[in-house]
């Protein structure tokens, strides 16, 4: 088992001028489950490929278990990987696909068979062991790729969207299974996903990436509740965080949408010094409550759209010209064009600098 230490990775693909990863540094502790999250094209796969040794960085270093592996070929790194494209060998049956890594490691035959059977059972592939990949569905092929990776007992497990092609139910099942397996194996895991629920539920820590850089690194709950900048807040969560243009006056009031409430201490102080401070107010949909219009401490707003989601109801609300999303319990009855009052959970409000977009904290 091994920790991964990534330092200052720069990578530009040949023929491209943009940095695919830009000075990425990341420490993944031994046995830690690290999730990489980020929009398409932000460099997640690139980072994983460099850890795997399939691409070499232009600058920076990678070490696994204290050993510098930056320029070591993949076969000497003792890791295993689920490829985003699966890369399941088309000329081998499911059985020998899963066992491929074990054969390369010269694992004895009976142990190999036992492991293959175990993985196939786990991923519900047992009926397909003697089929060729071309005879499988996309999701089944993806499961073969996952099975091939988990039988390896590798120090480092790299997974590039391993559950992306499964239906919602299977994904829910496997998410729990995967968490269990990885804990059992104790592998250090780097896991790429687009699915935020997956990221939240699986990870010990999340690294949110943006344009080749790590925008925020931290516990999933921290990243969710205290996004380091506007990008992270807007990327994580469904619906994403609401952003409202506001202003802290010299007197220490927070003005949003032409109405004002109290501003937090630290902002009031710096606003008093600078004579007023424009801010970006961030608040999540579930931290806004609907009340009677005109109730003290609420902001006047008008409901635009009502979307019942089953477990909750999502409202699109017009707040003095700015459109925000509000999530309320499904028992709350509201109708479009209704005039309501919005109460923000003061503890859940985040503030961002209007220029740097960075989070403002005390």
């Amino acid at each position: 088992m091994a920790d991964i230490s990534i330092k200052g990775l720069h990578k530009t693909y040949p023929g491209s001028t943009e940095l695919a990863t830009n000075n990425v540094s990341l420490e993944v502790a031994e046995g830690e489950f690290m999730v990489l999250l980020g929009p398409s094209g932000c460099g997640k796969t690139t980072l994983l490929r460099m850890v795997a040794g399939l691409d070499f960085p232009d600058e920076g270093s990678i070490s696994i278990g204290g050993r510098d592996v930056t320029y070591l070929p993949p076969q000497d790194r003792n890791l295993s990987m689920v490829f985003q494209s699966y890369a399941v060998f088309p000329h081998r049956k499911v059985r020998t696909n899963i066992g491929f890594g074990l054969v390369m490691k010269k694992v004895p035959r009976d142990e190999l068979e036992k492991k293959v059977a175990w993985a196939a059972d786990l991923l519900q592939l047992t009926p397909y062991l003697d089929r060729y990949p071309a005879q499988l569905s996309g999701g089944q092929r993806q499961r073969v790729a996952v099975a091939r990776a988990i039988v390896m007992d590798a120090d480092v497990l790299l997974m590039d969207e391993p559950l992306s092609n499964l239906d919602a139910l299977l994904r829910l099942d496997f998410r729990a299974e995967l968490k269990k397996i990885v804990q059992q194996l104790g592998s250090t895991t780097l896991y790429v996903t687009h699915d935020q629920v997956e990221a939240m539920s699986l990870s010990d820590r999340v690294a949110v990436m943006k344009k080749g850089q790590i925008a925020q690194l931290g516990h999933p709950i921290t990243v969710y509740e205290e996004p380091a900048d506007r990008f992270v807040g807007g990327f994580i969560g469904s619906p994403p965080m609401n952003f409202l243009e506001g202003r802290v006056t010299q007197q220490g009031a927070l003005e949003v949408a032409g109405q004002s409430t109290d501003a937090p201490e630290f902002l009031a102080r710096s606003a008093a010094r600078s004579g007023g401070l424009p801010v970006m107010v961030g608040i999540r949909a579930e931290n806004i409550y609907i009340e009677q219009r005109g109730a003290p401490g609420t902001l006047d707003a008008t409901v635009d759209v009502v979307e019942p989601l089953g477990h909750a109801t999502l409202l699109t609300v017009d707040l003095g010209g700015q459109v925000i999303k509000v999530q309320v319990a499904s028992t709350v009855r509201v109708s479009p064009a209704e005039k309501v009052g919005l109460r923000f959970d003061q503890a859940a409000i985040r503030f961002f600098d209007t220029e740097t977009q960075l989070g403002l904290t005390a």
């Binding site: 494209s85 890369a87 491929f100 071309a134």
Partner: protein, 304 residues
């Protein structure tokens, strides 16, 4: 497709319980026949007729059909040595060509500096006619050729590489010339085949601990099998027909089967025996091709 299809497709008729729900045959036979008729006519004129007349000639004699041509062919002292030479050449040459072509194709794929230039250089012999290739190598191996000049310049005795009594060196000369000339065909096919294999598979193999040779034998070669099969069939059939290179280099000293056909036809003026020989070459080629197809068939039968 042809117009007559349209109404039939537009109004699906209830089919009488078809065996195992095959899709209904849409095209009417006559339209299809009409469309392939030109090619059938051409094939008949250009292939069918010459072949039939060749077969008739092979079995033809003064008194009707006979197998005498075949026995004359077999009794000729050159025949069996030409068969032996041809087989030896094939057995030695084809593995060399495949290993070389594969190595060159893998080198190209590794994209060293100027790899596209290498590709064109290695593909050039494809455009050189076999007689020309034979003549080029003749300038190397002949008694006063380049090879002997080089030997002389380093103070060694010249060797009669192509002399009748120097079988080994004669064989080597033909082999080298043929390898030089014809490897490019295999090379081009293998390069095309390699390009169609996504890099992912080899990358996956290397992540799972496979070194270069493991990747080659467990991933690249199996995935390359269709290309190798094509190349093998083409190369073997063409190797049966090797002729001009040996003729240019050795005259009649290193007889090959197709060379014998030529000798019977032009030298001995016996078209019947020449046809018999040609027929044998054709039969062997066909059997070989079918054998390869059967032997190398993808057991998986799984489409990619």
């Amino acid at each position: 497709m042809a117009a007559p299809d349209a109404p039939a497709a537009a109004r699906p008729r209830p089919r009488p319980a078809a065996p195992r729900g095959r899709p209904p045959r849409k095209s009417s036979t006559s339209a299809a026949m009409l469309l392939i008729a030109p090619s059938i006519v051409f094939m008949t004129l250009l292939f069918g007729w010459p072949m039939v007349s060749g077969v008739l000639q092979a079995f033809g004699g003064p008194e009707g059909l006979t197998t005498a041509n075949f026995s004359r062919m077999a009794q000729d002292p050159y025949f069996w040595s030409s068969v032996g030479n041809t087989l030896l050449l094939i057995v030695v040459m084809i593995p060399i060509q495949f290993v070389l072509a594969l190595a060159m194709a893998l080198l190209i794929r590794a994209k060293p500096r100027g790899s596209s230039v290498y590709f064109y250089i290695w593909a050039i012999p494809l455009a050189v006619s076999d007689l020309a290739a034979g003549l080029v190598w003749l300038t190397v191996f002949t008694d006063r050729g380049y090879l002997n000049s080089v030997l002389a310049s380093v103070g060694m005795e010249p060797v009669s590489w192509l002399a009748y009594d120097n079988y080994a060196s004669m064989f080597m000369a033909v082999l080298i010339a043929e390898v030089w000339r014809a490897t490019s065909l295999v090379f081009v096919i293998v390069v095309a085949g390699l390009q169609s294999i996504p890099k992912d598979y080899e990358e996956a193999a290397s992540v799972f601990g496979a070194g270069f040779w493991d990747r080659l034998f467990h991933v690249t070669l199996p995935l390359l099998r269709p290309s190798l099969q094509t190349a093998l069939i083409l190369r073997t059939i063409l190797a049966f027909q090797t002729f001009a290179v040996a003729l240019a280099l050795t005259g009649q000293n290193f007889p090959l089967v197709v060379g014998e056909t030529y000798r019977w036809y032009t030298g001995l003026q016996d078209a019947n025996v020449a046809s018999a020989l040609a027929l044998v070459v054709m039969a062997v080629s066909m059997v070989t091709a079918i054998g390869y197809l059967k032997l190398l068939r993808d057991q998986s039968e799984a489409p990619r």
